[in-house]
């Protein structure tokens, strides 16, 4: 009846149902996805939902994320390798270029500081995971702190590895933290009432090549303590590891599927094969997690564990797909 009353061409496209808008926007790639949020306030709401729920298209092409030599150190360059479009996103301090990117899941880039002293600082205690939001209510960042030495102490096997060795691992440019997963909850709870879980995979493979030791830690928002979830079975090459299912919610099938989807690109450089978790969460590092624009990459791999400072291109890749 409405459509009869309205004259031709009088349709109000700002009043499209949210359902349709969300379906529409989740088909968009950059930059149109961002543009859709600027069209009008009603579209912006749907746009924010698409971002918040990470509803990006599985057809979205992958982006290379790197620090370009001709930009300042806070700028992350996103390179869409199918369209060849390049975007330069300015990220908050500390400088993007100075950070190790240790992975990305669900569109989040995970980085950790390179400065060992900041990791071992006594001031760093188990803090809550602190989300921060853009004005649109889109989750833009998390800060997670995690005192590395404390994490290591309870691990018997690792006690033989003094933190000096750990420091050396860092000097060599290899983060002992492989990656981090955030729980799905993050996407749905903008108020963050403590449901967020953080999984961390770390290890000391640098120290013993033949017997790489990794363990999976997780921290739930409820009690705020880090717990050891299980040992990780590493593959032969140190940088190629997968997570075995030793905790509820990590489905080997999901991981197998993810790996299959990602293919098995092996490179000269080391790489981490991140296994995604469907009911659980994302990978985490020590220090903090930073998000680039949440809609791009979901799972990332480290192509090169230790690019030197003077290299313009430091990092890595995201793959595209969501869900």
């Amino acid at each position: 009846m409405e459509s009869m009353v309205e004259g031709r061409g009088q349709h109000d496209w700002s009043q499209l149902h949210q359902d349709l808008l969300i379906r529409t926007f989740s088909r968009l790639d950059l930059p149109e996805l961002v543009y859709s949020g600027a069209v009008c306030s009603s579209w912006r709401l749907s746009y924010c939902d698409v971002r918040r729920f990470r509803l990006c298209s599985p057809d979205q092409s992958p982006y290379l994320v790197y620090s370009s030599a001709d930009r300042d150190s806070n700028t992350a360059t996103l390179h869409n390798i199918s369209t060849n479009n390049v975007y330069h996103v300015s990220l908050p301090d500390p400088p993007f270029r100075s950070r190790y990117i240790i992975g990305s899941t669900r569109g989040w880039l995970t980085s950790c500081p390179t400065c060992i002293s900041s990791i071992r600082s006594p001031a760093q205690t188990f803090k809550d995971v602190t989300p921060s939001f853009t004005e649109d209510g889109v989750l833009s960042e998390y800060y997670i702190s995690m005192p590395l030495t404390k994490v290591y102490r309870p691990r018997k096997r690792v006690t033989t590895c003094p933190s000096r060795s750990l420091a050396r691992a860092f000097e060599l440019g290899n983060s002992p933290i492989f990656f981090l997963i955030l729980s799905n909850e993050d996407a749905h709870n903008s108020n963050h009432d403590g449901n967020l879980m953080v999984f961390v995979l770390h290890g000391t493979w640098m120290l013993r090549r033949s017997e790489s030791i990794r363990s999976l830690l997780f921290r739930s928002g409820e009690d705020g303590n880090w717990q050891r979830a299980g040992r990780i079975q590493g593959h032969a090459t140190p940088w190629h590891c997968s997570i075995r299912n030793e905790i509820d919610g990590v489905s080997p099938r999901d991981m197998a599927r993810r790996r299959k989807l990602e293919g098995n690109r092996s490179n000269g450089g080391g790489q981490v094969d991140c296994a995604g978790v469907s009911t659980g969460t994302a990978y985490g590092g020590l220090g903090d997690i930073r998000a680039a624009e949440p809609s791009f990459s979901r799972v990332a791999r480290i192509l090169s564990p230790a690019p030197s400072e003077d290299q313009g291109v430091r990092i890595l890749v995201g793959s595209s797909s969501f869900i």
Binding site: S3, Q10, L20, L28, E135
Partner: protein, 174 residues
Amino acid sequence: MAAPESGDGNNGAARMVTLISSDNTRFEVEAAAASLSQTLQLTILDGGGGGGDGIPLPNVDSATLSKVLEYCIKHAPAAANGGAPNATAVDRAELERFDNEFVNIDQSVLYSLIMAAHNLEIEGLQSLVAKKVADMIKGKSPMEIRRTLGFPDPTPEEQAEMNAHMLEYGWAYE
């Protein structure tokens, strides 16, 4: 439940239902086709729409309804096959060609179709129109999107909001 099994088409003549548009035009279609609409499906399963009754659709005019039914009739066989695992590539290509052609329509018709797909909850059609709208948006700036879809000129408040957004995501506009 008197409703015949949908889709096997072996019970003699397929069951027909009648749909009545907002301007009182009556459409007689196979129940299997109309059942692509989640909204209608239950009514039809309950035996509604048969005989002289007809199911009134006060939100859909006859032009739109005939368009919607064109879609449903085309897609009903594939839907009845449960996503058509045994469909040939030719069939799928044909459906795709049909879909592309189907949404190659005037904007106001598209708008009515969007509303009808939503009201009638026809999953495939909802995806199809969303894809069409996405294609219309692609490669356009926010202002171009507004112009394309016939938005009025932005009010100063709207303009300020747009500017703020563009400032925040400046990198996407470079």
